[in-house]
């Protein structure tokens, strides 16, 4: 399954979550520091949220307006 975190393409096994995508992108430390994660529609999403093929997620402040 391919997803995008900010602008980076990340490949995940089925069933993997927002947390795994952030680990793959090396961004978990930013979330631990208090940054939130958003989907492409601007909704905040939980770290255990499941991602779908071609989903786009963004760290707080990274989502294009």
């Amino acid at each position: 399954m391919k997803v995008r975190v900010n602008d980076a393409e990340i490949h995940l096994a089925p069933g993997m979550t927002v947390r795994h995508a952030l680990i793959g992108a090396g961004l978990m430390s930013e979330v631990e520091g208090g940054k939130k994660v958003f989907d492409e529609w601007g909704n905040e999403i939980g770290l255990d949220g499941t991602l779908s093929e071609n989903a786009r997620i963004y760290l707080e402040g990274e989502r294009p307006e």
Binding site: K2, M16, G34, W41, G49, T50, S52
Partner: protein, 516 residues
């Protein structure tokens, strides 16, 4: 005189406003409030989210808010899946505590999420029987306890509620958990039941465990759905969206908020909708004492369970040196990964073992301290070269005792720390034979390393090379992913194994040798 005129004007204004309101109010309109929760995952106790200092959530506070809002309007309380699995409070008792809480809260219906299958179908059937509300899954066949839909009448409105769960469920749980079940395509299934319910109900709600994007696709594909109450993607949808004529809502995760959707229904149509999420903030709220009692009772049982002796260590189990050398605890855990997934080998990160267990009694709490993270077992097909690359990378941070140091099963290798990072690995054998760089082997690991945690690239590279998978007969058919038990934490697998073996005596076997 002036005062009299202004009083008459005021009275006239009120009369006009009242008449306009009566004129434009939907004739025969009725109100319905939908309260909704999704992806609760057994988070019954309030907690501080990563990056926050404030306590949030908690079933007792969620129940109090739900009760308060139910009193205001005729309501339905719905759950959109993944309710019973995901926290120690729920997992240790296979989800039973969550059902008790849901019964006390008066849920009207829930759909199963993919994680409802994580304890197997026999346990799920027991949980469904314990529930005082229907548990739905229209697109799952093979489990009689689940119903495709239910019909509720609230405030004179007949509401059809259809439940659907992601078709990818078999790819994210142990194959044994979904044996004999078939997960049907969602859109066709919903279309069928919308047709069946048409004429019998005023409005149709789909309670979905598909994810926000999939809910939008469903709304765009199948006509006749008035509302989708969603889950699975843990989306904090502050307000509803509308796709075609379908309203879509979702309420984040863990009972951190309660979703509220107020509908006005007239002649079988939703003519007005307003939605919000109510934050569940214990510092500012009352709690429901009955639910608080249930939460506390099971929390006390969790504490009891942590002290339960499950086996005995014949030797000290060394987790403290797992970042720099072969460790008997590393061998023990890596062996469990290999056995469970029937892989050729296993590689885990030494840093994942957070402490040691002293010789003597082993408690559940000891194992939880060694493996505090919510990691699960996966197995991926790697080439011999990719295994070499993974091991080489794992050896690159020994000087700083980096957590990436590999603990292995089914593999022996040599290395020299005198050589520079990237050139430290010497010989590698699998099952006693020199590794073949071009041959494929199945390698078990945890989901953290599989996702690229600690900087490991080999597993995610193998996933990238064969991203497609399909589910046939309840098992995964994939290029490189051969085992994926996302519903069972590694620490619980280790607890089971210690309980089974009773006496644990892992040794240093020369799996990792330093070259002279």
């Amino acid at each position: 005189m002036k005062q009299k005129i202004s009083s008459i004007s005021l009275l006239l204004s009120f009369t006009i406003v009242f008449l306009l309101a009566v004129f434009f109010a939907p004739c025969g309109a009725a109100e319905l409030r939908i309260l909704h929760v999704n992806d609760f995952h057994g988070f019954a106790e309030s907690y501080k989210r990563i990056g926050s200092d404030e306590l949030q959530g908690g079933a007792a506070y969620l129940a109090a808010k739900s009760g308060e809002l139910k009193k205001e309007k005729p309501s339905l309380l719905l759950a959109a899946g993944d309710m019973i699995q995901g926290s120690t409070w729920a997992n240790l008792f296979e989800g039973k505590p969550t059902i008790e809480v849901m019964n006390a809260m008066g849920f009207d219906a829930m759909v199963v999420g993919n994680h409802e299958f994580d304890f197997g179908t026999a346990v799920l059937t027991r949980r469904v029987k314990e529930a005082n509300f229907p548990v739905l899954a229209a697109n799952v066949t093979g489990l009689d306890a689940l119903r495709p839909y239910t019909i509720k009448e609230v405030n004179g409105i007949r509401v059809g509620i259809i439940g659907v769960v992601t078709e990818e469920t078999p790819a994210a749980t142990h194959p044994g958990n979904v044996k004999g079940l078939t997960f049907l395509p969602v859109a066709g299934t919903v279309e069928r039941y919308v047709g069946e319910l048409k004429g019998k109900v005023d409005i149709i709600i789909v309670v979905s465990h598909l994810g926000y994007n999939a809910d939008m696709a469903l709304a765009g594909t199948v006509k006749g759905i008035d509302v989708i109450v969603g889950g699975h993607s843990h989306t904090k949808a502050v307000h509803h969206i509308t796709v075609g004529d379908t309203i879509i809502v979702q309420a984040w995760e863990h009972g951190l908020v309660l979703g509220v959707l107020d509908l006005t229904v007239e002649s079988g149509k939703v003519v007005r909708a307003a939605s919000r999420l109510e934050d569940i903030m214990p510092a500012k709220m009352k709690k429901d004492e009955q639910v608080a009692g249930i939460v506390d009772t099971w929390a006390a049982r969790v504490n009891e369970s942590m002290g339960k002796v499950i086996g005995e260590a014949a030797v000290d189990l060394d987790g403290e040196n797992a970042r720099v050398t072969e460790s008997n605890l590393g061998n023990f855990v890596a062996d469990i990964l290999k056995q469970q997934s029937r892989a050729d080998a296993a590689i885990i990160n030494g840093g994942g073992l957070r402490t040691s267990i002293r010789k003597g009694s082993i408690t559940v709490g000891n194992v939880y301290s060694v493996l505090p993270f919510n990691n699960y077992i996966v197995a991926i097909r790697l080439t011999g070269q990719q295994i070499r690359d993974a091991l080489e990378y794992g050896l690159s941070g020994i000087e700083n005792k980096e957590g990436r140091f590999p603990q292995v099963s089914g593999i022996t290798f040599t290395y020299s720390r005198k050589r520079a990072p990237g050139g430290r690995l010497g010989t590698v054998e699998i099952a006693g034979e020199p590794i073949d760089p071009s041959r494929q082997y199945t390698v078990a690991t945890n989901d953290f390393l599989a996702a690229g945690g600690d900087g490991y690239q080999a597993f995610r590279e193998a996933i990238r090379q064969a991203p497609d998978f399909e589910i046939l007969g309840g098992t995964i058919r994939s290029g490189n992913l051969v085992y994926n038990d996302a519903g069972r934490w590694l620490r619980d697998v280790v607890v089971s194994e210690v309980s089974r073996e009773k006496k644990v005596n892992p040794a240093l076997e020369g799996r990792i040798k330093v070259e002279n």
